[in-house]
């Protein structure tokens, strides 16, 4: 019913607002010694994958990284700038993009169910992110892979909690606002910002 062109508009808008949402979630953060913060932004990345799916989610994440690269303090704890991309967390950031795709593929591969969502969050939101993050961290810091991987275990409890949260939140969103997962725009009264 809606034309192809206006689907493009909606897609752009969703990418932009989800990027903004990931940024806003970055204000919730626990700085950890070691330079890699524990951040709610990964929860945002997981949710992006679940809600936007494998095509749009990586673009929302990429957009956050572009904003960071051009010098906006959009990452956890108000960090940003090019320093981030030569620092120890650069790999995790790239991993977010790949992770968002994987989450989208797994979680949106069929009807949304709790196990598919949880699987997507763990595989895409944790495994894939670590897969990119840990080697780059090792490389940048000049530390062996094994100890680096071991030290990253501190994030595992938090990340598992976030994966659980992402699952619960996705299922709640499905009840609260089914059009979130649909292709067609939602109708009715406009969402007002007062």
């Amino acid at each position: 019913m809606t034309s192809h062109r206006s689907d493009l508009g909606r897609d752009l808008a969703r990418i932009a607002v989800f990027a903004a949402l990931i940024v806003v979630l970055g204000t919730v953060t626990v700085p950890l010694p070691g330079g890699v913060p524990l951040t709610a932004q990964t929860l945002g990345v997981m949710l992006a994958g679940m809600v936007l799916g494998p095509r749009l989610a990586p673009m929302a994440v990429l957009l956050v990284l572009v904003l960071a690269a051009i010098g906006l303090p959009v990452l956890a704890g108000g960090r940003g700038g090019l320093g981030v991309f030569v620092g120890p967390t650069a790999g995790y950031l790239i991993g977010w993009i790949a992770g968002a795709i994987v989450i989208g593929v797994i979680a949106r591969g069929g009807r949304i169910t709790w196990w598919r969502t949880a699987l997507g969050a763990v595989v895409g939101g944790i495994l894939v992110v670590y897969l990119f993050g840990i080697p780059v961290q090792a490389l940048v810091l000049g530390v062996e892979l094994a100890p680096t991987a071991l030290s990253s275990l501190v994030f595992l409890p938090g990340d598992l909690l976030k994966a659980a949260a992402a699952t619960v939140l996705t299922l709640a969103l499905l009840r609260a606002y089914p059009p979130a997962f649909g292709r067609r725009p939602a109708l009715g009264a406009p969402a007002r910002a007062v």
């Binding site: 609260a176 009715g188 009264a189 007002r192």
Partner: protein
Amino acid sequence: MRSDTRTRHIALDGVSVERDGRTVLREVNLGLDAARIAVVGANGSGKSTFARLLNGLVAPTAGRVSVHGLDVQKEIREVRRRVGFVFTDPQAQILMPTPAEDLALSIRGVSRAETERRVREALAAHGLQDHADVPASALSGGRKQMLALASVLITAPAVIVADEPTTLLDLRNARRIGDLLLTQNAQVVIVTHDLELAARCDEAVLFADGRVIAIDEPAGVIAHYRRSCV
């Protein structure tokens, strides 16, 4: 009766509010005893800030706010329990996925069965019984505002503060929400640009530029406001 005339008193003593270095309210002194109070004034005159003071959503930079004998700063938990707040945008106030869950959120300290019972009762009282378990986001504008109001009324507040609760509603819905607010057994403070609604209150307060410039029976205050807007 929850809110009897002895304590039905809202007082601001020398209250100033600053936000981002701007003075939003300037040394406001005010005592309100009427049952139904309208707050009117231009955009940015400080109405919402005043409303938010009453349940501690905004803290005064100077001065003291008390509601029914409670100091809003010092007894904030008790104040939040007694003062219900209705936001302009019901979508900002509805926190749970469905109407039933959202109403249940307002009820604390009773058994699950009792919560369930009260929720069903409130849904029925507000014409929402057929929408208990649909996504709240899919309700029409009028029903959303009803739900937002219901989630406040279900806590039986002694004071209800409503910030432009009838905007975006049609004549009929606006009147329904207005009727409901004005017939509550509670002290009601309604911030509104809807002058018909303001006229139905017992007293009206006119804000301009962070000050109270008139406080009287509504007809006079509304006339004053209309004159100041030409």
